[in-house]
Amino acid sequence: MNNDQPNIDNEYESPESALSSSYIRLIDGLNEVAIPDDVLTNTTGPITTADIFEAASIRICKLCALQSHAFLLANEDSEFEIYASYPEASHSHFNALIDNWIEDGYFSWALNQNRAVVKHDDEGVNSYVLHAIATRSRIIGMFIAHLSPDAQVDEGVLSLLSVVLMNCASGLESKELHTELKKHNENLETLIHERTEELEIAKNRAEQIATEKSIFLATMSHEIRTPMNGVIGMAQLLQKNNFNQEQQSLINTILQSGQALVHLIDDILDISKVEAGQLELDPAPFNIASLLKDAVELLKPQAAIKDTTIELLINEQVASNVVGDSGRIRQVILNLVGNAIKFTTNGTVKITVDPHKDKGLRVSVEDDGIGIRPEHIGRLFNPFSQSDATIARQHGGTGLGLSICKQLVELMGGEIGVDSEYEKGSVFWLTLELPPSDHSIISNIPAKELHTGDTSIMPAGKILIAEDNEINQKVISLMIKSLKIDYDIVDNGTRVLERLNSAPYDLILMDCQMPELDGYETTRIIRKSDKPYQQIPIIALTANAMKSDREECLASGMNDFIPKPINQENLNSILREWLNKKSVATTLDSQPLTIQNHDEMIDRAEILSLAEVMEDEFSALIEAFTQNSALKLKELSQAVKAENCNAAREILHFLKGSCLSVGALRLSTIIATLETLAKQASLDEIERQLPALECCYHETIDAINQLIVAQADQ
């Protein structure tokens, strides 16, 4: 045997020649394998297993001559099944072969080889190639081919086969991962969708509950106060009669019980509001000293009954005028001092106010009463805690007092606490940070609340009362009667309008809640109307004491309001105030505006604060005002020339409003005067004043601009 050359075939081919032809075949084969799959790139939809096998099949057929071939895949049960066979008919032939090979172990052996294996059948006639289809991580299937008799398979071809099948395996694995990912994503999406729906439902439910609670509060507020109004009102009126002592005592009881009940309702509503986060503070400038002094005055009678004196000591360094919700602060002070009085007999209640930290103050209410047991102190500020309830039962009160105080104080950003020694006394203290106020105010308590109702100086007039509740009608009418004022009663807004059109009135007491046409709507109609009663003072009678309701009253054009249950004193002072004014100019804006004569051209403070708040938009506002007013002035001139009174009035009304918005005081005064003239149809007089008006307009614009420039320079 020749040691140097293999004796193969009858071709005398040198090794070099053999190598080069082999090399060429390999390069060709590699080129085939390296080109991207036509089948895989042309597909428009997702790639299927069939696509992948199709592409592999095409490649393999180019590598060597095959009679038939098939691709097997391992299914979920780890059994191998023919997925595709080429030609189709070879299916059963392969199945038979495979069963044999599995039986004799050849299949598993080929499966675990990492390369192609060539099997000759026993007769040596047929040759088969087997190659596992597998990635690094797992076996996916098996490739089987029946070689053509003339097929030339050498190591190179088999290696290329490995490359094709490895790609095939990768493709299948990718596709599987892709499908799993898609399924996973879909699951995730479904899950998210469900969760979102659940959350949505939960959220809606929560909102619904919150709304129901709010409505409940508002309704309760109204529904309970209305009859309470009746009871208290009646009792107050009865008090005025000359009854014997026993009868007086009964009436007093009714009154006290009624008032206690209203007080309780107020407390409950307060607690609910704070808990629902709906309690809004109403900060405004007020004077601490005045507040405390008034509170002391109010409680002096109670203290006197208990033979107890109240002392008030305010440290000089405490700022007098501060900003805060005076109503709520008073509520807390009254509660604490009231408690102190309840617990003290024949003693002293000392109220001291000292500065606290930087901007705050500390109020201590000290009594030398019976004190609190240590085991009760912890729960003292909890609603309905036993100690508070005990107090309530023994000394009166709702049992909610201290917890409301705590909530209010904390809402205002302060702290509240107590130091107490049983049988020695207690010190209730609270700290608040109240920023000082720039305005100097003499008294923070609205004048109405202090008046004791002196009917002798009640102005005369005719009142129209709009109230749908019979009992309330009775109460109010009795109260008004006692003032010897003339009145009419109607029970809804439509009637109000009818009455106004038929007779002159000086004031309307308007219930907000009425059937058909309610108080707000009626007021709006009145204000929009072009009738002489357009500006009639309208006082709201409202059972709803929430800030938002008051705002709605003012927004609809009402001038003031009286809360229900109606208090005679309140009523008196309101009537005294508004019956005097008769026709008061109001706008449809949220604030009742009073026109005063100003010496200044412009409201410097107002303008500067506007500029600060509006920032960039302020200059646009001034610009708009400038342009607009100029336009309106032209229109006014035209209207006057055309002798159109109504148009002139409208323009002047509009101008007045915008002047007031930008703090153009003098201009607004002049316009107000002209407006009155217009109402009186004195167009000639207006015409004479036009030059002055225009002059003032220009001066005003200059003044505003100068102010802004001066401010910017600082």
Binding site: E79, I102, F107, S108, S137, R138, I139
Partner: protein
């Protein structure tokens, strides 16, 4: 016959789960994949190694100590080293037991 532990192919792919009742079909699967050993419920699955270890608990400490020395240049926190060390200790115990 019930399979007592999972059957995996050479690459670690799970072919059959433990607890399955074996049928003809399963036997064919074993042949297809070249599985030669399976564990059936009822077989005493305690390996001889396990028996040795159970019989000589004191050797464990000795082997642990020897392992510390043998593996002193390796990273004890590496997962693979941990596994290798555990295996080493098992075999060392067997060796020590044989010497007794």
């Amino acid at each position: 016959m019930i399979l007592s532990s999972d059957v995996k192919d050479r690459g670690g792919r799970a072919l059959l789960k433990a607890g399955v009742e074996l049928t003809e079909k399963h036997l064919k699967i074993f042949k297809t994949w070249g599985i030669t050993h399976i564990e059936i419920e009822g077989d005493d699955t305690t390996t001889s190694l396990q028996t040795v270890i159970n019989a000589h608990p004191e050797l464990d400490a000795v082997a642990q100590q020897a392992a510390e020395n043998q593996f002193r240049h390796t990273d004890p926190d590496h997962q693979f080293i941990k596994e290798l060390k555990a295996l080493w200790i098992q075999r060392h115990i067997k060796v020590l037991a044989a010497e007794i």
